[in-house]
């Protein structure tokens, strides 16, 4: 082995150790959260999760049971009997969250892809100005739009419907989606479009058969962003959809699970892992699109 090679190998070891260290630090909070989610309430409140390594705590799934199956409630019914029953389980909230999220991802992506194609490849008057307006909208915080939109929804009787929140998320998501897809679509080689037009393709054909399939990697990454944002959103859902049990999304249920004064925060540990399931599935499901070659197949056409 030459000196150079030995030096390189040494560096590699050092770098790997540093990386390992960073990875450890990075995953520490998640590990702590996970361990805490398996511990009984009294112990979560009294000692840190790291003490489990030394004093061998009992783990149980009680927190998960309470989160998934509904918190235990004690109340007195109209006949004066004390009743102990579990609250609503999370299935309704899961369905509500999916009902809100899926259209709120698909609608803006389709519109943004079409808009980006238009801005990138179609000639029409005012193209630059419109595009500048779209980009400028990126810096407008959505919170300032809540009250005006709510007023308009109220006027046309849309408040509290799913359509209201789909449209709201579409509007809030469009500027970024359009901008990012524009950057991507404008890098598609001109030759591909020219040969398509030579073959007699119309704009719509080019869009559906060329642009959309070619943009899959960009659309997939945007879909993940938009999905996570809508899935984790609490404010927009509370404003436009409301928080009654029939429409409450998962984030709302989680927020109320800790109780009026935050006395049950230990349930959040399990709640965090439960809500993570769907975003993780989406991420790993779409991840292969990132890895897949960008232009693969386009030249062979």
């Amino acid at each position: 082995m030459t000196l150079e090679k030995r030096k390189a190998a040494k560096w590699k070891v050092v770098i790997n150790i540093i990386l390992l260290f960073i990875v450890l630090i990075w995953t520490m909070p998640t590990v702590g959260l996970f361990i805490s989610s398996l511990r009984p309430q009294d112990e979560v409140m009294n000692t840190g999760w790291w003490t489990t390594f030394t004093d061998g705590t009992r783990f149980n799934l009680d927190n998960y049971r309470q989160v998934l199956g509904g918190r235990d409630h004690t109340y007195v019914d109209a006949a004066g009997n004390t009743v102990r029953a579990s609250g609503d389980n999370l299935s309704q909230a899961f369905v509500n969250s999916l009902t809100v999220t899926i259209p709120s991802v698909i609608i803006p992506l389709l519109i943004a892809a079409a808009a980006a194609f238009g801005f990138a490849w179609l000639e029409f008057p005012g193209r630059k100005i419109f595009f500048t307006i779209v980009v400028a909208l990126l810096v407008v915080p959505l919170q300032i739009a809540l009250i005006p939109i709510l007023r308009d929804y109220q006027r046309i009787g849309l408040t509290g419907s799913y359509l209201a929140i789909w449209l709201a998320h579409t509007g809030f998501g469009l500027p970024l989606a359009t901008y990012l897809l524009y950057n991507y679509i404008s890098t598609i080689p001109r030759d591909i479009f020219e040969s398509a037009f030579l073959d007699g393709a119309k704009q719509m054909t080019v869009f559906t058969l060329l642009v959309l399939p070619l943009s899959i990697p960009a659309i997939a990454s945007l879909a993940i962003f938009q999905f996570l944002w809508v899935w984790n959103d609490l404010l927009v859902a509370l404003v436009f959809l409301g928080g009654t049990a029939d429409v409450a999304v998962l984030t709302q249920r989680l927020a109320s699970m800790v109780g009026s004064r935050g006395q049950d925060w230990h349930l959040l540990t399990a709640g965090a892992f439960v809500t993570m399931i769907i975003p993780l599935a989406v991420f790993f499901g779409l991840q292969r699109f990132f890895v897949r070659g960008l232009m693969a197949g386009s030249v062979k056409g």
Binding site: Q41, D42, M45, N46, R71, H73, T74, Y75, V76, D77, A78, G80, T82, G87, P103, I106, I107, L110, L146, I147, P148, I149, L150, R151, Y153, Q154, R155, G157, L158, T159, G160, S161, Y162, L163, W166, M204, T205, T208, L209, L212, L234, L235, L238, V239, G242, G243, T244, Q252, A255, S256, M257, V258, G259, S260, R261, G262, Q263, D264
Partner: protein
């Protein structure tokens, strides 16, 4: 591909129309919507408590609770989508909405009910500019000291009834090797509020209700000697490391909910904790299950005998945004003890009704708290909730934190006074 897109869009729009239509149908039913800040178990208990109303009248009451209540109620009112009735935790919110003309004032029959069922202080707290708006339902009272009963019995401690006795008791505890207090003021973005309660409690006891009201209205400045005296009395306890478990550091870094836990360890690491009636939900489960055997409670003793034993407290007031016959019926139900009875039986709630049946409370502890609340000669609403937001939910909290951190008291008080809008 094109077809797929078109089909998908048609499907989405059709689905949306169905949802929108489905939600509009409910308008014809007799429904009252109520929006409030309490959630989860408390929301469930509220729903059960008002079920007799629905059974009797056929009017459905739909309660929605959110921990983001303060933000949302303003957005919804501004956006023209208020609930029929809202339960406002802070009188300041009611005053704002009333000034903006969003609220429906009390009508005659409701006002008569309030006059006969509540002490006058509750009507005053629900009024703005002489017009009554808010009806109180569940309230809380904060001037209570909790202690581990068994440890007290073993050590032979007796409940103090005057401030001198309290001080003597603290010294006796220190002499026995016990730590008198467990105190924690951490509460996320609201860190400091348990400290404001201490100061308010002492202020009511030293200066009396009139000066207390002047303090809230800033007719006396925040650095007035009367306010400073209250801070100093609190500081005499807080900053004596023999008196407080863990000293200043524990006060600052322990969340208010976790702070009573040292009382219930074996052996207890602290002997007293001052907090409102709601603190029992933070006690360990095994304590909550045997509350009467494990825990004792007494009102924070009197300092100036002229004011007796004042009670500091707060509560949600129900105000009306939409005037309908159903809403009127429900508000009149809320102004009677009937609406609170079932919740009182379930526990964790106190009610201000003069004609309430104290036997309804599930244990001796809550019964004594309710009794203290109803019989208090002086009742002070939480001052920090009545002060302008910049102070009551801002500089007063941070001032407490700075003070515990060791900042000079005069500087702290001057800073709070300067922040007054």
């Amino acid at each position: 591909m094109k077809k797929v897109v078109v089909v998908l869009l048609v499907f989405l729009m059709a689905g949306a129309a169905v949802f929108a239509a489905g939600q509009r149908e409910t308008v014809d039913e007799k429904v009252v919507t109520v929006f409030g800040a309490f959630v989860d178990e408390e929301a469930r208990r509220f729903e059960e408590a008002i079920r007799p109303f629905t059974d009797a009248t056929g009017i459905e009451v739909r309660y929605e609770g959110s921990s983001e209540f303060e933000t949302l109620i303003s957005v919804r009112v501004e956006g023209g989508n208020p609930p029929d009735i809202a339960a406002l935790p802070q009188p300041g919110l009611m005053q704002n909405f009333a000034q903006q003309g969003h609220l429906v004032p009390m009508w005659n029959s409701l006002e008569q009910l309030v006059d006969s069922n509540y002490a006058p202080v509750w009507k005053d707290l629900g009024s703005e500019g002489g017009t009554p708006y808010g009806v109180f339902h569940r309230v809380n009272a904060k001037s209570f000291v909790w202690y581990p009963k068994k440890a007290w019995d073993a050590a032979g401690y007796e409940i103090p009834t005057t401030w001198d006795e309290l001080e003597a008791l603290m010294d006796q505890m220190v002499a026995n090797g016990h730590t008198p207090w467990a105190i924690g003021i951490e509460s996320g973005g609201a860190t400091g509020w348990p400290g404001t309660d201490w100061v308010e409690d002492v202020m009511l006891r030293t200066a009396g209700p009139e000066v207390y009201q002047q303090w809230i209205d800033n007719e006396i400045p925040f650095n007035h000697p009367a306010v400073k005296e209250a801070f100093e009395i609190v500081g005499d306890i807080w900053f004596n490391d023999d008196y407080v478990y863990g000293g200043r550091n524990y006060i600052l870094t322990t969340s208010f909910g976790d702070s009573p836990r040292p009382l219930f360890e074996d052996p207890p690491r602290a002997m007293m904790h001052r907090q409102g009636n709601f603190v029992t939900t933070f006690f360990p489960d095994r304590i909550q299950d045997n509350l009467e055997q494990e825990v004792g409670v007494f009102p924070l003793p009197s300092i100036n005998p002229e004011w007796g034993i004042p009670v500091l407290g707060g509560g949600d007031q129900f105000v009306v945004f939409n005037d309908t016959p159903e809403v009127r019926q429900f508000m009149e139900f809320l102004a009677t003890w009937e609406s609170g009875k079932l919740w009182a039986q379930a526990g964790g709630a106190l009610f201000p009704y003069l004609d309430q049946d104290l036997d309804a409370y599930p244990n001796e502890i809550e019964r004594s708290l309710a009794e203290a609340l109803v019989n208090a000669e002086v009742f002070g609403f939480d001052a920090s909730d009545l002060m302008p937001g910049q102070v009551g939910a801002g500089s007063f909290w941070t001032g407490i934190v700075d003070w515990v951190n060791g900042r000079n008291l005069d500087t702290v008080l001057n800073t709070i006074q300067r922040s007054w809008p």
